[in-house]
């Protein structure tokens, strides 16, 4: 059951007015332009026990993604595809109101939006995770730990997921017919990625559209729209968050604003994921 939240991270009305009065002057409380992302760092290989990992810091937000895999059986309706599971945890470390326990609806929603962005875009090639059709496939888990909750966790999570997947190797396998021998200790192929995906979130606050909202902006926003893109401009996922509304004209505007931000993110991603053997989109 989904409940109206108790405004857990409520910003006093006076703060809202303060933020708005700054916006009226064409700037944001941290000095950014409306269309700017915050400072961004992406560090691959941060978690050494993961088969691939990436720490992403986006302003005050910190997110750590790790990839694990295991041999598994395919689902009956996708006998020639691997399994792919995204799990976002809003850890109690990350924010003062977060409690330990199973993922709440916010964490579940984040997991599912990241999952769809990576799956339906075909960014990850699930067919190449099949070992023996109908019998044996890889299950890939990507676990995303939110460590510091400073706004726009979704875009940071998508960056971390993509960077961690590009960092990851499958174990070595030797296949003889239906016999599969897994040599855990040795690295095999990379996790098969076709291309990166980025997500851009735009908050609507009164008449303003703010890219990459930080926590206070996010808290007082009327609604947020998160759009996932490929580098060629195709939209591969959308999620509207929050109970505010938008007109169809505003949807147009937000999509254009979001698309304009993608080049910066692809650039930052490519600094870490470009591979010697031929680049990210091979």
């Amino acid at each position: 059951m989904s409940l109206t939240p108790s405004n857990y991270n409520i910003v006093p009305l006076i703060k809202r007015e303060g933020i708005l009065s700054v916006l009226e002057k064409g700037s944001r409380i941290d000095g950014r332009k409306f269309t700017d992302f915050r400072s961004l760092s992406i560090t691959q290989g941060y978690a050494k026990k993961a088969e691939g990992s990436a720490m992403v810091r986006l302003g005050d937000t910190a997110v750590l993604a790790g990839v694990k895999m295991k041999e598994d059986v395919p689902f009956p309706d996708t006998p020639d595809q691997g399994n792919f599971i995204v799990n976002v945890e809003l850890l109690p470390l990350a924010y003062e109101t977060f409690e330990p326990g199973p993922p709440d609806e916010n964490a579940v929603e984040l997991s599912r939006v990241v999952d769809r962005g990576l799956r339906d875009s075909k960014a990850i090639d699930l067919k190449r995770l099949c070992l023996v059709p109908g019998k044996k496939v890889w299950t890939i888990w990507i676990d995303i730990d939110v460590l510091d909750y400073g706004g726009n966790v979704l875009d940071a999570s998508m960056l971390a997921a993509v960077a961690a997947l590009y960092d990851a190797f499958l174990p070595k396998v030797e296949i003889n017919g239906e016999e599969v021998k897994i040599i855990k200790e040795e690295k095999g192929e990379r996790v098969p990625m076709n291309y990166p995906v980025v997500s851009v979130t735009v908050a609507k606050l009164d008449k303003f559209f703010l890219v990459d909202p930080e926590l206070e902006e996010e808290t007082i926003a009327d609604t947020r729209l998160s759009i996932s893109y490929l580098e060629d401009g195709r939209i591969v996922g959308i999620q509207k968050f929050g109970s505010g509304t938008l007109t169809t004209q505003e949807l147009d505007a937000v999509e254009s604003i979001a698309r304009a931000s993608t080049s910066r993110l692809f650039e930052e991603l490519k600094k870490v994921i470009t591979r010697p053997e031929g680049g990210v989109t091979q």
Partner: protein, 246 residues
């Protein structure tokens, strides 16, 4: 060699029609009815093709536990749930992650419409039960929920109508069926308060070019107008029927 493998069928046939005979911009047959449950304060059932969802509304009523009540508005509690026999394979009755997400997006969409500030310190409970799932369940649930809230006499800014637009074999199609949902290239559920021209729910999986995205919204808007008209008729006929009786 593997017989398990299922082939993607052709979704748009030679004559430009869809696998179920519809034109790309044609919706499935729709039925709506309100006030069908005795105990609930409001209720509605909506059928769209073979998708069928029943919603009951209880409230506004006292919130338990009290500390979850809000001083300035009603809390909305929304559950989207699929009955175990609504799907091809039996669905486990406990809430799946998919149901948790959909409950949330339906709640947020409803909150845009319900005048919750009219009833501070109370709760308005909206329980949707999917009786048959055959594509479009979240939108059918949301429409039945908005009718049930209206049937409960709770004031709203507007009703909510919604429909999915997808892409099948490269063609934009309105109100996906299950084959298009499974094999199509995109699925974008969208819901609006039509008389206010406000979008209350928007999701997309699959892929659209920016142009397709804009065209899809236009296509959806047409469908939404039709659905909205039917919703209003459903409510009017019920209450005019009442008047005759009184």
């Amino acid at each position: 060699m593997l017989t398990l493998q299922v082939q993607k069928p052709k979704l748009i046939l030679e004559d430009g029609r869809r696998t179920d005979g519809r034109r790309p911009d044609e919706m499935r047959p729709i039925k709506m009815e309100v006030g069908i449950l005795k105990n609930a304060n409001g209720s509605a059932i909506v059928e769209m093709g073979k998708t069928k969802v029943l919603t009951a509304v209880y409230g506004p009523r006292e919130m338990h536990p009290r500390h979850l009540a809000l001083p300035d508005r009603a809390v909305m509690r929304v559950r989207y749930h699929m009955t175990p026999f609504s799907t091809d394979d039996r669905k486990n009755p406990s809430l799946s992650r998919r149901e948790i997400e959909i409950s949330k997006v339906i709640r947020e969409a409803l909150e845009a419409a319900v005048l919750a500030e009219t009833f501070p310190r109370t709760t308005i409970d909206v329980f949707s039960e999917v009786l048959q799932a055959d594509a479009g369940t979240r939108l059918v649930a949301l429409m039945s929920a908005s009718l049930a809230v209206a049937d409960a006499g709770i004031p709203m800014r507007d009703l909510i109508a919604g429909v999915a637009v997808g892409k099948a074999d490269g063609t934009l199609v309105l109100d996906l069926n299950e084959e298009e949902d499974m094999w199509g290239e995109a699925d974008m559920p969208i819901a609006m308060m039509p008389s206010l021209s406000q979008v209350t729910l928007l999701q997309l999986n699959g892929n659209f070019t920016p142009e397709e995205f804009r065209a899809a919204i236009q296509l959806a808007s047409k469908g939404i107008e039709e659905l909205y008209k039917l919703q209003k008729e459903t409510l009017t006929s019920k209450y005019s029927a009442y008047k005759e009786v009184n």
